[in-house]
């Protein structure tokens, strides 16, 4: 039921200050459409749009633009952008939103329009560069794209011919491309995908995956009655702009919002309930809430009875009780008897009454309970994956999984493109990416790469980093610097990047790749219940096309010789396989012109003409599918994506399938294809039981029986593990600032102007212990070193916890280039035995450049690089880096200065080995190195999943297919 509207709201609606929420735009979904943004230039004028030039004011001077849609690249939401290109100068003048984009619906956060800064940044990389002199010396020489392609392709060809496939890797910071890079890597036959995900979202992904085989949530905020966020999605975080607008839409219709966060974030301040949990205790609070819902009889019996594997649980864990649903509920209440609101209060610090009140509200919201957890607590703590597991437990007991107003699996909303050619799974397993100590790791153990290389586990001959800056973004950056500097660990490092960054300083080649409006890409994200695709396109290339100019490669229209990955990979692959004998070229052939190399337009045309509904939409306008996407920049594939698990499987798909009457599962050729629910074969969930797995046999099989059901694990920074008498605190280092994004926003002047330093948030009671005032300097010692920052005393921080945004503290050395809007100039010293010091020589200051604004820089402080002092904390189950740090707080000494940093990388290695001891390595059942039903970003051939006792290692951490046991012949 909708909330009653106030007179002020009605007036605001009639004046079109806010959207008219009384108007029933869509009886099914009640959500806004692009027509609500009626002040946007109408589509028919996009190729000839006139407006006054702001800089000429008060003179009225008209300018004519062609408006080209694309998508933003400053976070992963891929919100729609429109580039205004001056027809007279062929320059991009500004970016606005794209009302035709179903995710962002014309709206953007500050990062979208700031794309123009990144494009015009005088410090950006405009031409391919190769290093001259020693790695890291900061000396570079311009080269041609041809030289880059020839050098790299020769190296890769040699490695492939010698069977050193595992010495080639692509390490991606900001992914996207919807399978593009994966297809390239598999065409080369390498297990070479390494991602950033285990420092990002793996923890939460694991918690969801172990329940229902999908690893991320997609909340339907707009239609929810109650929203619980373990994050800050009104201000920052993944999909924040699309989510924030829908959270507000839900709130305007009466939804209540609760936020768990030890920090009074902007999100928490807009919430009806701020629940400042002690970090890592969120799972305990949610288990208490589950128990209250069960005790109060507010659970959704119908959903749970059909879609939870409760029978399997009773049969395996409680053999002495009858297998009835009533007994299941009794057992749940009994098993979780420890989780009273009082216990949860003791752990978390949140009042028992609040926990109880929120639990009742969630129970009453029922199917209209939406929730979200992406990183936050799930990424901060040992056992952080229990946070999302227990959050999903709330969705299960309320029956809100996949419901309108509830939370769906993200993959229901994510589009999977059809490619013109699909290479087979690679015949290699790279143990540097998926080492056997972490058989359940959701993604590659990427943050341990330098540690494993230093440990002698392998070698990277040709290593691409793409929009990836681990020296700065990852924990333990000095260990990355050490490894990147060694040619015996990294043979050649090629940085594909739109900007200079702290890691590119240590590369061998820096190849300039375009910002969002300078390249092709396909995007589809779970921003709401619906499925869409968006087309990131190089807008100057499209403007040239509209003007009748031919373009062969995108760098012809971009600034300098800035290129794009898509065309680069085609050209590189073609050169690696000179005569087609390696079997690579065949995957880069045109689907329309036999025997000829595919063009970028053909690649996307093929995908778009195989996108359901798009050919019809294009036909209506009399244009091609590619033409449609060039024009609108986005297409809605499905209007909503609710309850897909209930979809009935066609009889034809069940031909030759075998039905197990006991479990209700239909299987064919060893694969589950449907589950019988309500007498009908349905799609279900991609788990072994095809249901939500309250009980996980997988956890039992892989040596973690104590976590067979949702549990609470006390974090490595639990209060029991800290010695307060020694000044030990937990540092929450993960929160984002709404206007910044990791290292990519360092060259956006508007964004740096808004936020440019990262002080330590500290409650007045804690500050009083050291007599700290705002602006005083403070020393925080981690397990491997220390950093010195300033204090911000605020009641917006939970007492006993300190926090620091990870978005600032960018640096460059005297010899380095780039990002002068954001970087302090630092001095780095190394004693040659693992001890590193960094000191700030000067802060941010005005500089001369082609952009006059660079002379007007008024901020002087670029913040402090905290991550470089963080020890690695790989969760032994999910593989996630547990970001929260145990820190010792003290007043700095007389010779210590703001910005001073010290790290001992010997301690880093000791710490890495300590955490390694917590693992329970593969093999699992049948000699498996990983459960077959777990996804991998780059899935190898099935036989690679089996470990073999006598496998021979070729010295680079690789395992080749020919040495593998087969499923039929597992290890003994």
């Amino acid at each position: 039921m909708s909330k009653k509207h106030t007179i002020i709201e009605k007036i605001a609606e009639s004046l079109r200050i806010i959207p008219n929420l009384h108007k029933d735009r869509d009886p099914l979904l009640n959500r806004m459409t692009e027509t609500d943004l009626d002040t946007f230039p109408p589509m028919e004028k996009w190729d000839h749009w006139e407006e006054y030039e702001a800089k000429s004011w008060p003179k009225k001077e008209k300018k004519t633009y062609t408006i080209v849609p694309t998508t933003c690249f400053n976070c992963e939401s891929a919100c729609g952008l429109t580039a205004y290109i001056d027809k007279a100068t062929n320059q991009i003048r500004k970016f606005e939103g794209n009302p035709y984009h179903p995710g962002s619906r014309g709206r953007n956060c500050a990062k979208g329009p700031a794309t123009i800064n990144q494009i015009t940044d005088p410090d950006r990389v405009l031409y391919p560069q190769k290093r001259v002199g020693k790695r890291g010396d900061g000396k570079w020489e311009r080269i041609s794209w041809d030289e880059a392609l020839d050098t790299i392709s020769a190296r890769i060809r040699k490695a492939l011919k010698e069977g050193r496939n595992n010495e080639i890797a692509y390490h991606v910071g900001r992914p996207g491309h919807e399978g593009y890079a994966n297809r390239v890597l598999q065409s080369w036959g390498i297990d070479g995908h390494n991602s950033h995900t285990n420092i990002c979202s793996s923890g939460a992904r694991f918690g969801y995956n172990i329940w229902y085989g999908h690893d991320r949530p997609s909340p339907d905020h707009a239609n929810a009655k109650f929203i619980l966020l373990i994050s800050a999605h009104l201000e920052s975080g993944h999909y924040f702009n699309p989510h924030a607008q829908r959270i507000i839409e839900g709130k305007m219709k009466g939804a209540k919002l609760a936020t768990m966060d030890p920090r009074l974030s902007n999100t928490a301040s807009m919430s009806d309930y701020w629940m400042p949990t002690y970090p890592g205790t969120e799972a305990a609070v949610m288990l208490a809430m589950v128990r209250i819902i069960l005790q109060e009889g507010l659970y959704n019996r119908d959903y749970m009875e059909k879609w939870v594997n409760w029978e399997e649980y009773l049969q395996k864990a409680h053999k002495d009780v009858p297998v009835t649903f009533e007994k299941f509920i009794d057992k749940l209440i009994d098993v979780y008897s420890e989780y009273t609101p009082e216990f949860a209060e003791k752990e978390s610090g949140v009042k028992a009454e609040t926990i109880r009140e929120v639990a009742i509200k969630i129970g009453e919201a029922g199917e209209q309970f939406a929730s979200h957890n992406w990183r936050s607590a799930a990424s901060g703590n040992l056992g952080g994956w229990c946070v999302s597991r227990c959050l999903h437990f709330l969705s299960v007991v309320t029956g809100s999984v996949g419901a309108k107003g509830g939370t769906s699996p993200n993959s229901w909303s994510k589009f999977k493109p059809k490619f013109h050619s699909v290479p087979p799974g690679q015949k290699f397993w790279n143990e540097l990416h998926f080492p056997k100590e972490y058989p359940l790791a959701m993604f590659e153990m990427s943050f341990l790469l330098p540690h494993m290389l230093k440990d002698g586990r392998g070698f990277m001959d040709t290593y691409f980093s793409r929009v990836f800056n681990p020296v700065w973004t990852y924990p333990d950056g000095f260990t990355w610097m050490e490894a990147y500097s060694r040619e015996d660990l990294f043979g050649m490092h090629i940085a594909l990047t739109p900007t200079w960054n702290e890691s590119a300083f240590f590369a061998d080649m820096v190849l300039p790749m375009g910002h969002s409006a300078e390249r092709h890409d396909l995007n589809s994200y779970a921003t709401h219940s619906g499925k869409w695709i968006a087309f990131r396109q190089p807008v100057l290339r499209e403007a040239a096309r509209r003007a009748g100019k031919e373009t062969t490669f995108t760098y012809e229209t971009n600034p300098g010789e800035v290129w794009e990955e898509d065309e680069f990979w085609i050209e590189l692959s073609w050169r690696i396989d000179e005569d087609g004998s390696l079997g690579i070229r065949k995957h880069f052939m045109s689907p329309y012109r036999e025997g000829e190399k595919i063009t970028i337009d053909e690649y996307y045309q093929y995908i778009f003409e195989n996108t359901p509904g798009l050919p019809e939409a294009a036909l209506k306008e009399g244009i091609s599918e590619l033409g449609y996407m060039r024009k609108y920049g986005a297409f809605e594939v499905e209007h909503h994506t609710y309850k897909k698990n209930e979809k009935v499987v066609a009889e034809s798909d069940l031909k030759d399938a075998r039905l197990d009457e006991k479990t209700g599962i239909y299987s064919k050729e060893g694969k589950n294809v449907a589950i019988k629910i309500d007498g009908k074969p349905r799609i279900g969930f991609p788990t072994p039981s095809m249901k939500n797995e309250f009980f996980s046999q997988t956890m039992v099989d892989w040596g973690w029986p104590e976590h067979a059901i949702p549990t609470y694990i006390k974090s490595h920074i639990h209060e029991e593990n800290l010695d307060k008498s020694k000044g030990e605190y937990v540092l929450v280092p993960t929160f984002r600032l709404p206007t910044l994004i990791h290292s990519r926003s360092g060259n956006a002047k508007w964004l740096m102007e808004i936020a440019n330093r990262n002080p330590i948030w500290m409650h007045p009671k804690d500050a009083a212990k050291w007599n700290f005032k705002t602006g005083d300097i403070v020393k925080l010692s981690t397990d491997i070193g220390y950093f010195i920052d300033k204090v911000w005393v605020t009641e917006g921080m939970k007492p006993g916890v300190v926090a620091c945004s990870h978005h600032l503290g960018r640096w460059r050395r005297e010899q380095d280039q780039g990002n002068r809007w954001a970087t302090n100039t630092v001095r780095i010293e190394n004693d040659g035995n693992g001890k590193w010091n960094m000191n700030t020589k000067s802060g941010v200051k005005p500089f001369n450049s082609s952009d006059d604004d660079s002379k007007r820089i008024f901020w002087v402080d670029g913040g402090v690089h905290q991550n470089i002092t963080h020890a690695v904390h790989p969760d032994p189950i999910s593989g996630m880096h547990c970001w929260h740090q145990r820190v010792r707080i003290e007043k700095p000494g007389p010779n210590e200065r703001y910005g001073d940093i010290f790290v001992d990388t010997n301690k880093s290695m000791e710490n890495y080995r300590e955490w390694l001891k917590m693992t329970r390595p593969a093999p699992g059942p049948d000699g498996l190195r990983r459960p077959l039903w777990f996804k991998r970003p780059l899935k190898p051939a099935k036989e690679l999943y089996y470990l073999h006792e006598s496998k021979s290692d070729n010295g680079n951490g690789s395992v080749r297919s020919s040495e593998m046991a087969t499923p039929e012949k597992p290890i003994e």
């Binding site: 008060p58 005005p846 006059d852 002379k855 007007r856 008024f858 002087v860």
Partner: protein, 100 residues
């Protein structure tokens, strides 16, 4: 600082210099009597600021307070001591006759 207070201080300050940091076009339309023009958006802003006498007191304004605030911060970074900003600028007084 309010508009009235800003004018009062400036008019009674022997060392006071009033600086309009808007564009020359905006300055030509109207400005506070006695104000000099120093365009925040000019190509040589840094040089213009460096040419100022640090022993003087500066009263800075623009249209909305945005540009003047940044000039105040830049001057503070350059160790100027007596800097005053007109909060919110002169936009709301533009329809009123400016003094002088």
């Amino acid at each position: 600082m309010s508009y009235d207070r800003f004018l009062e201080l400036f008019n009674n300050d022997d060392k006071g210099i009033c600086v309009d940091v808007r564009t020359p076009q905006e300055y030509d339309i109207s400005h506070i009597q006695g104000a000099i023009n120093l365009n925040y958006l000019s190509d040589n802003l840094a040089d213009l600021l460096e040419s100022l006498d640090p022993s003087k007191h500066y009263y800075i304004y623009c249209r909305t307070g945005r540009r003047s605030l940044r000039v105040c911060v830049l001057l503070t970074n350059m160790q100027f001591k007596n800097i005053y900003n007109l909060d919110d600028g002169i936009a709301k007084y533009e329809t009123m006759p400016l003094p002088g």
